[in-house]
Amino acid sequence: MRVERRNLIDADRGAVWKIVSDPDRYPSFMARLERWESANQQPPGVGARYFVHWKIGSVPVGGLVEVVEFDDLRDLAWVGITGINLRGRIRLRDAGEGRTRVTFRLSYQAPGGIWGYIADRVAMRQVGRTTTETLKRLKAIAESGG
């Protein structure tokens, strides 16, 4: 399944990037986050690993993720190493007059054949709400000066 949400933030890309590139800031804007811990103490960038779990349904869902793209002021992407198959991306683009268009994508696939597919479909609405809420919080933080 792939869930994508976008919003427009009244702050320049540098200000938004400062927030999304700082691992310590994630608990403040990532919605329904149950666990966020550095797993290899590596500085932010490609190769840094984190334990990430969101409360989806009855239990925390996620696993160990690794940052695979850390393109300054543009893209930050990660893939899941353990847990469900997961890819995530936060994409920043100029929207003119000091504004930034932010895209947040989450692609995920649970194991287990047909049950995994049903679980993915059932979780989709909640994952959608989580990504929407995350962008709202990011907007509020960035527009209040970070």
Binding site: P60, G112, V122
Partner: protein, 277 residues
């Protein structure tokens, strides 16, 4: 009398010979991973489960998880917690659960061994902890799990505290795991200890109870050996702070019981209706 004695010995041997030897290698992380979506659906949609404070469990190393047990022979709390643990720490972290001999030796439940379920005895428990795994135990679970539904928020290990010695010898902390909701999955009326004694099941099968309940689809359900269809009761689980084993057994046991009962009371206070939650 000697015929009766022989019969008892024979039955004891039959049960004992069917209990699989503990083989920690039977746990299969890939199998567990494939089952997680199905259990997630059941836990999220049917039982509307809510598991809190998994972060209180030490992130690595062996740990003894001690829970209160509910739900008769179909205890939803075990599978919800197993799902939560495997989801939070990953199926890669070794995790075992102790279960009654009759559970691990029942042929239709052979798949439980792939989840890491082993027969409840001190040797298996020690083996699991020495291997560095997390171990879930329900002291006195076969007694507690059949308490009447009106005692559903009472933690009662029937005085069992062997788990303290186990944790002390293995040098691991105890993490209490409180849960509510399971005892509302059927209407449990009586533990039926008198019936177990009458039928000598306590001596032959290590069954202290032959419980009497009203449960789907049977109506009046005696023994629950064939299980039942649990009502869609809301399951709430709260992991408590770790307790170090640094006093005598009774003192540590009292701490664990106090922690569990406080957790159960907190969860029960948030519950407005039986079953619905």
């Amino acid at each position: 009398m000697s015929t009766l004695g022989d019969l008892k010995d024979w039955m004891r041997e039959q049960v004992a010979s069917r209990v699989p030897k503990a083989d920690l290698d039977q746990r299969d992380p890939d199998y567990i991973r494939d089952q997680l979506p199905g259990t997630w659906l059941l836990a999220s949609l049917y039982f509307r489960a809510d598991v809190q404070h998994l972060d209180r469990i030490p992130a690595d190393g062996p740990v003894l998880l001690v829970g209160n047990h509910s739900g008769g022979n179909v205890p939803p709390d075990t599978f919800v917690f197993t799902l939560a643990f495997c989801s939070y720490f990953g199926v890669e972290r070794p995790f075992y659960q102790l279960a009654h001999n009759l559970v691990v030796s029942a042929p239709p439940l052979g798949w439980l061994r792939k989840f890491g379920t082993v027969a409840a005895n001190p040797e298996n428990a020690k083996l699991a902890l020495e291997s560095g795994a997390a171990l879930l135990v329900y002291p006195g679970g076969d007694y507690e799990v059949f308490r009447p539904s009106w005692e559903r928020h009472k933690v009662d290990f029937d005085g069992r505290m062997g788990y303290v010695k186990l944790a002390r010898e293995a040098g691991v902390p105890i993490v209490p795991v409180a849960s509510v909701g399971g005892q509302e999955s059927a209407l449990f009326l009586n533990r039926g200890q008198w019936l177990a004694k009458l039928l000598m099941a306590d001596k032959l099968l290590r069954l202290k109870s032959i419980p009497i309940s009203l449960a789907l689809p049977w109506g009046l359900n005696i023994s629950d050996l064939a299980g039942h269809i649990p009502l869609p009761t809301k399951i709430a689980i709260e992991v408590q702070h770790p307790i170090d084993v640094d006093g005598d057994d009774q003192a540590v046991h009292d701490k664990v019981m106090a922690s569990l009962q406080a957790g159960v009371d907190r969860l029960a206070a948030r519950r407005r209706f039986p079953v619905i939650g």
